[in-house]
């Protein structure tokens, strides 16, 4: 292996020999918090009141804050750059945080993977990452929820509500978690009526208000009459869709206050339970699993209460399917199924249960979704 001075590995090795005391000095100077007390740090990529992704996490953090013996420190609008690395270290060095929840997808590689090895006694819990034992440090964990199941249930409500047989999805970027949501939304609707199609429009950004509004209008112009989304803050999509007379399915958090009459239901995170569980485990001296996943049954996600526009038939199918999902092992992606370019995704009898890790590297849109992944 080349030992060029610019090589990170090379330096790590020689750095030890050079007794790089300065580099590790802050470690030994960690402020020690009072016995039994735990300081937990939460880092958000956007504002924590965005009606969406970050708010869902901040609501979880608020639940942790209410626990006895726990101090919560938070930082919002932290970019997926050196910023987040230093925010983590700042929480560790100045606040004595020993359990960190950097919540954005993009924080994982390389940022958490860069910082975690420097603090082997601390715990880094990341939302959405794909932790694997042979590649990643053992003090890093990843957790996520089967929110696609929520979008499947959204789809069932949408399938009953749509009159045009066309539903719409405003999406940020074509990444696996988003694609799974789009596919689940359509397949839920097709469980009601197989002729339904779903138009997707990618905005290309996690948060860009005017473009999200334009995308929503384009969906409505194209005839979609039930709309959901996967962007960081769904407020603009929900308000715009409601003003166009479309029904809404929420995402990330409960958006029903924005348009109570048009809101059917929504797929929400339930981080309060996940976070309080993890903090309790840590305080009791236990260890959190490195790879944690859960769905409706485990309380990782929940559905918004069904709105007034949901028909009795819809309600019945919704509740029946939800009960089915609660039993575990439910598969949304199951054969026979093709993608929207005609390739076979699953043959007759083949099924990808919600727990299947293969779903987390999804790269296709299923037949019936109008849109493309690049």
């Amino acid at each position: 292996m080349p030992t060029h001075p610019f090589s990170r590995r090379g330096f790590l090795r020689s750095g030890a020999a050079l007794a790089g005391a300065a580099a590790v000095a802050p470690l030994s100077a960690l402020p020690v918090s009072a016995a039994g007390d735990l300081t937990v740090g939460f880092i958000y990529v956007g504002p924590k009141d965005d009606f969406g992704y970050n708010q869902a996490h901040a609501e979880g953090a608020a639940a942790v804050k209410a626990m006895a013996g726990v101090t919560v420190v938070e930082e919002e609008n932290v970019a997926e750059t050196t910023d987040v690395q230093k925010s983590m270290e700042s929480m560790i060095n100045f606040d004595g945080a020993t359990l960190l929840f950097p919540t954005s997808f993009g924080y994982f590689d390389p940022h958490i993977l860069e910082v975690a090895p420097k603090y082997p006694d601390l715990r880094f819990e990341h939302c959405g990452g794909l932790w694997s034992a042979d590649k990643h440090p053992s003090n890093v964990g990843s957790y996520f929820g089967y929110i696609g199941m929520g979008q499947y249930l959204n789809g069932i409500a949408a399938g009953h509500a749509t009159k045009t047989k066309k539903i719409g999805f405003v999406a940020a970027k074509p990444i696996p978690q988003v694609l799974l949501n789009i596919n689940s939304f359509l397949l839920g609707a097709r469980a009601v009526d197989p002729s339904i199609t779903c138009q997707v429009i990618f905005t290309g950004e996690w948060s860009m208000a005017v473009r999200e509004a334009e995308a929503t209008n384009a969906l409505a112009d194209g005839g979609a009459d039930v709309i959901t989304c996967h962007v960081d803050g769904p407020k603009v999509v929900m308000e715009t869709a409601a003003s166009r007379g479309c029904f809404l399915c929420g995402y990330h958090a409960d958006q029903s206050p924005l348009a109570p009459d048009m809101y059917l239901t929504g797929a929400e995170w339930n981080w309060a339970q996940v976070y309080t569980d993890m903090v309790t485990t840590t305080m009791n001296g236990g260890s959190i699993d490195n790879f944690v996943r859960g769905g409706l049954a485990e309380g990782f996600i929940k559905m918004s209460p069904l709105g007034p526009a949901v028909s009795d038939a819809a309600r019945a199918q919704f509740e029946a399917t939800k009960a089915e999902i609660m039993k575990g092992g439910f598969a949304v992606i199951k054969g026979p199924l093709k993608d929207n370019a005609g390739n076979v995704i699953a043959t007759e009898g083949q099924a990808f249960a919600e727990t299947d890790v293969a779903l987390e590297s999804m790269g296709y849109l299923v037949e019936g979704v109008i849109g493309s992944t690049s």
């Binding site: 956007g46 504002p47 009141d49 965005d50 009606f51 609008n77 045009t164 138009q199 997707v200 429009i201 990618f202 905005t203 290309g204 948060s207 860009m208 208000a209 005017v210 473009r211 999200e212 509004a213 334009e214 995308a215 209008n217 384009a218 969906l219 409505a220 112009d221 194209g222 005839g223 009459d225 803050g233 407020k235 603009v236 308000e239 715009t240 003003s243 166009r244 206050p257 924005l258 109008i370 849109g371 493309s372 690049s374």
Partner: protein, 306 residues
């Protein structure tokens, strides 16, 4: 609902032009007023964002969106006034002050705007001008906001003002030659400051449109550079208010291209379609600029065209 097929694209561009253009229109009108007096205010992005915040906050607190618009105009005028006063000092760079005021405006807007992200403020009213059509797409496209109509009227009024009124003449003289203005007994610094303040008020109203109508909510990402782009549109429009109206419509329409193409099935390379407004603006700038003569319509005292 009727499927319009490929005709959905031009309709979406028209609809987008009407929906999206208003902030560009107001900011560029404000900038025309300022630049015609011989100053450039590059900080209207900050004014726009602060206008969006203050408009939303006041509309929420009073329950009246028009009170919000008024508040945004007043806040914008204050920002313009500060910019104008600072630039009246000798050897202060108006472009740099603009960038500084942009940072300050955005900082203050985000700082004071925190408590107003969650509440829902009342929207500005729109007039349904599409009643004659059976197509819901056309009806939706022709939901025209009152501010759009006011902006269009203001564009023509400002054009007339520069052409035919004494105030317009004074602003033009000050903008074309400080010396000539002094010889006429005018006070260039005062007039420029007032023009910048008035320009700021326009930009503030543009911001209020963003937060109170389309997309109609306040958050830190509400503006994606509309205030900065509007400054580019002024050069594009050759300092002519009526041309600003056209430029704003064009830019708004080009912005609708990305979503519209995806909705009719042209879904690959959407980032490139989203860049269309910028490419278009740059192309027109390149095509219409010339190294040999000052740009037609450019005020003589303007720092960026000297």
């Amino acid at each position: 609902m009727t499927d319009l097929g490929i005709w959905a694209v031009p309709l979406a561009i028209l609809a987008g032009a009407i929906r999206v253009s208003t902030p560009f229109l107001f900011v560029s009108l404000g900038e025309v007023l300022t630049e015609r007096s011989g100053r450039i205010n590059l900080g209207l992005e900050g004014t726009l964002v602060f206008g969006a915040m203050s408009g939303y906050a006041v509309a929420y607190l009073t329950g009246s969106p028009w009170a919000g618009v008024l508040a945004a105009a007043v806040a914008g005028a204050l920002f313009g006034l500060v910019h104008g006063l600072i630039c009246s000092l000798p050897r202060v760079n108006d472009i740099a002050i603009g960038i500084a005021m942009m940072i300050l405006g955005m900082g203050l807007a985000f700082y004071f705007g925190k408590p107003f992200v969650q509440p829902v403020a009342p929207d500005l009213p729109a007039i349904p001008l599409g009643w004659w059509s059976d197509l819901p797409q056309v009806q939706a496209a022709l939901q025209v906001n009152v501010l759009f109509l006011i902006g269009a009227a203001a564009a023509f009024a400002m054009w007339w003002m520069f052409r035919a009124t004494r105030v317009g003449l004074i602003i033009r003289v000050v903008g074309d030659s400080t010396d000539a203005a002094r010889a006429m007994g005018l006070r260039p610094a005062l007039i420029r400051t007032l023009a910048t303040a008035a320009g700021g008020a326009f930009a503030g109203v543009g911001g209020a449109y963003l937060s109170l109508y389309y997309p109609g909510s306040w958050n830190e990402g509400i503006s994606s550079g509309q205030g900065l782009m509007a400054v580019a549109l002024v050069i594009f429009a050759r300092w002519n208010p009526v041309a600003c109206f056209g430029a704003a419509l064009l830019f708004g329409g080009a912005g609708a291209l990305g979503p519209a193409l995806q909705s009719v099935g042209v879904s690959e390379g959407y980032y490139l379609y989203y860049a269309a407004p910028y490419v278009l603006t740059l192309g027109v700038l390149i095509a219409t600029s010339s190294p040999h003569r000052a740009m037609t319509g450019a005020p003589g005292e303007l720092s960026i065209t000297k």
